[in-house]
Amino acid sequence: MNTVVVRIPTPLRSYTKGADEVHATGATVAEVMSALGAMHQGLLERVLDAEGEPRQFVNIYLGARNVRALQGMSTPVGEGDVISIIPAVAGGAT
């Protein structure tokens, strides 16, 4: 089990009592996110779908890499790694 820093974007800080980052432990991205969800009720539902995968409008980065380009939620994490929850920012004129 490794302790990881999870960076929380502004729109989701209502779930973390305003904290901009949270420490959580696990061996994979999925385990860390599960631990995060256990600490902060409601947060996980905004980030992951029913299958435990990142929602369409959310990206999860491990360091500088999108986990979709790694081993997805099964990607192993190391001690002191940084996971960033990145809301997809989109829209348009029409």
Partner: protein, 139 residues
Amino acid sequence: MAAALRLPESLRDTVHAFARHGYPHETCGLLLGTRDGGENRVTLVRQARNVNSARARDRYEVDPNDFLAADREARAAGLDIVGIWHSHPDHPARPSETDRASAWPEWSYVIISLQRDGVRELRSWRLNGADFEEEVIRA
């Protein structure tokens, strides 16, 4: 405090320049600053790549790598990402249904309406529940 955006004149000019340079395509980026009660105070403006190249005239999607870079820059400077800006070429500076459906709470959404000969209007919006409300912009 009612929702408000503090956007200094020089940063407004920067956003206008980004939008004009990108016309007729949509341009987008991040607003970095601080949050004080209901007021989002912008101190830095960054442009992001629009990864929706297929519909660049009427859609935008901020490159998540650019979001991550802006987030790192903000944290290093003791700032937050406090909002998003994007342009509406040849459309009003009001959120579309596409904008509303994709929006996140807490952030200011600045929209720049422009035509070929220049910027028409810049307005800012914030989610209140499921709907956008316009917020006051102070310099």
